[in-house]
């Protein structure tokens, strides 16, 4: 009886808060995988032979000193590097059972499934509502009822609904930085992504907004793979299941977050964690 109640509570809890368990792996279902990915900016070889797997229901943190290639790697995953002049990505990126790093891949469909949230909150110069409906409309959703529902669902998903439900038609720029960032997350959620990439999503935010975003990421991880680049070691250990450490364009060490932080194998990782360099 008690186990049944436990079971029930657990299911409620995890459906609302996502994986409560962090620090260790909780899934072996791979959602997105890279094989020997290399990235070049012109002649500059910025990322070498990176192979990583990202799991459904899990959060993976990418850490490493500035300029080591975290963002570069992250941008390969939704093919955003293609928008940078002179940037070239080789290797395989497997999503949904096929390699997406091909000339024929439909970028526009792909980026609906693999969403991205940036370092600086970057809402559009539009109302809160339009920030969310803009992309779905361009992708062909016309029905007003559907759009309205989408607005509410996405804002609820991003834990922003209660704060903005009375001012949906006000400019997104009237929101605080933390709210703007959650709006950007909501806008990404409206595309119903399987994978969400976060590039230092809290580095422009205050501590309270940061915790709100972390909570949010935990709840979003359900049925998705989440990948977050962060310079904040506590953040990485608070939210992530696995962690990959990058150093000067190499993916040096990858493992369960607890292991990475408690028992690092590579000397460079150890030095990084003990603050020998940043």
């Amino acid at each position: 009886m008690t186990t049944e109640t436990d079971q029930f509570l657990k299911s409620v809890d995890s459906s609302e808060r996502g994986p409560r368990v962090t620090g260790v792996a909780i899934s072996d279902e791979v959602m997105l995988e890279t094989k020997d990915v290399n990235v070049y900016y012109g002649d500059h070889h910025a990322l070498h032979d990176t192979s990583l797997a990202f799991h459904k229901d899990e959060i993976t943190a990418l850490i490493g000193p500035s300029g080591c290639g975290k963002s570069t790697f992250l941008r390969s995953l939704n093919l955003m590097n293609r928008e940078i002049k002179g940037c070239r990505v080789t290797g395989e990126i497997l999503y949904d059972g096929h390699n997406i790093n091909t000339k024929t891949e439909n970028l526009y469909e792909l980026r609906k499934s693999i969403g991205m949230v940036f370092q600086q909150p970057n809402p559009f110069h539009k109302s809160i509502r339009e920030n969310i409906t803009f992309a779905p409309k361009r992708h062909g959703v016309r029905d007003k009822a559907v759009l309205d529902q989408m607005v509410e669902e996405s804002l609820r998903g991003a834990a922003l609904w209660d704060e903005v439900k009375d001012k949906l038609d006000k400019s997104a720029f009237a929101l605080s930085g933390g709210q703007q960032q959650r709006l950007c997350i909501a806008r990404t959620l409206a595309m119903k992504p399987d994978v969400i990439l976060f590039d230092e999503p809290c580095s422009a935010l205050d501590p309270i907004s940061t915790l709100a975003i972390e909570d949010l990421m935990l709840s979003l991880a359900k049925d998705r793979a989440i990948i977050i680049v962060t310079h904040n070691m506590e953040q990485a250990s608070r939210v992530s299941n696995r962690t990959a450490f990058f150093y000067m364009g190499d993916m040096v060490e990858y493992g369960e977050t607890e292991q990475i932080f408690q028992r690092p194998k590579d000397k460079r990782l150890n030095d990084y964690l003990t603050g020998m360099f940043s």
């Binding site: 002049k85 002179g86 980026r111 609906k112 970057n122 559009f124 992309a135 992708h139 400019s171």
Partner: protein
């Protein structure tokens, strides 16, 4: 002992650099004051000479008579605005397209460089040369004679580089995070440009367009050989027969801008028409000043509407 010597030397150095600073400030202030004085006295002088004429009955509402030495300047005023509108209708889409191509589409490398050089060259061509080219090309070759359309195309030729630059700058100033956000949601480059970048750049674009309008409005040299040096004696604003030489809206009729009007009458040196020259000059100057003020107000208002609330 040695200590007090260094202090004295240091003090002398500080004293010296402060004096230099004072001198530099003084000289720069004087230069700015001189420039301001020249501008202000010029504006005041022209206004003093011409504003009275603007209030003469009929000056703004009547056609000119006796080859411009009598009557008003209504047609010249209309032609100036009509030329401006025609010019913008042609040059704005071309410049917008060019700027969007250069900023969003053109690959880094020779194409962008060549295009930029071409635009720069075009913008530094003397307007009289542009006018000559327009005359030979449109008036003679195409057989359009002295016509508003020839004038508008000549004006377009030096308006395009200005506008392209302004729009290019405005698009480049849109934070790249806006572009990234769009692309990351699976929108195409074109959708991104049309729905996010251009709206975000709009305040700067409007400011630039109105400022360039001020330049076009005051242009004379490029129009002498293209739209000609006289408006028809009678214009019918109600006529919709666009082929009629007296239809005001006929783009193949000759026309005369305010600046050309000044050139013509002043050049003829008729002393009895001096008041018309000054009146026209004052009007022209007021219009251009208004364009400047308007561009600032419009740009600010748009920017406020987009970010505020």
């Amino acid at each position: 002992m040695g200590n007090s010597q260094t202090t004295a030397a240091q003090e002398a150095r500080i004293e010296r650099s402060m004096r230099n600073d004072r001198i530099a400030t003084g000289v720069l202030t004087a230069i700015v004051a001189l420039v301001m004085a020249i501008v202000v006295s010029m504006v005041l002088y022209i206004l003093a000479q011409g504003v009275g004429q603007l209030f003469q009955p009929g000056f703004l509402t009547e056609a000119s008579r006796a080859n411009g030495t009598e009557g008003g300047i209504a047609y010249q005023l209309f032609d100036s605005f009509y030329l401006l509108i025609l010019t913008l209708i042609i040059s704005l889409p071309i410049s917008l397209g060019g700027a969007v191509f250069l900023v969003e589409y053109a690959p880094e490398g020779p194409i962008t460089k060549i295009a930029s050089t071409a635009i720069e060259t075009l913008s530094s061509l003397p307007s009289i040369v542009v006018g000559m080219f327009g005359f030979l090309m449109f008036s003679v070759n195409f057989g359009w004679g002295y016509s508003l359309i020839s004038g508008a195309i000549a004006l377009t030729m030096f308006n395009i580089p200005i506008l392209t630059r302004v729009i290019q700058q405005a698009l480049e100033d849109v934070p790249s995070s806006q572009r990234d956000a769009c692309l990351a949601m699976g929108l195409t480059r074109w959708e991104t440009t049309l729905h996010v970048l251009i709206p975000a750049a709009m305040p700067a674009i409007v400011t630039g367009v109105v400022l360039s309008a001020g330049r076009v409005f005051g242009e004379a040299a490029a129009l002498l050989f293209t739209s000609g040096m006289s408006s028809p004696a009678r214009l019918n604003f109600l006529s919709l027969n666009f082929a009629s030489p007296t239809c005001a809206w006929n783009i193949f009729r000759p026309g005369e801008s305010l600046a050309v009007h000044i050139y013509k009458i002043y050049g003829e040196g008729s002393p009895e028409a001096q008041h018309i020259v000054w009146g026209t000059a004052a009007l022209l100057m007021i219009c251009v000043l208004l364009f400047n003020v308007l561009s600032r107000i419009a740009g600010k208002a748009l920017a406020r509407r987009m970010t505020a609330e």
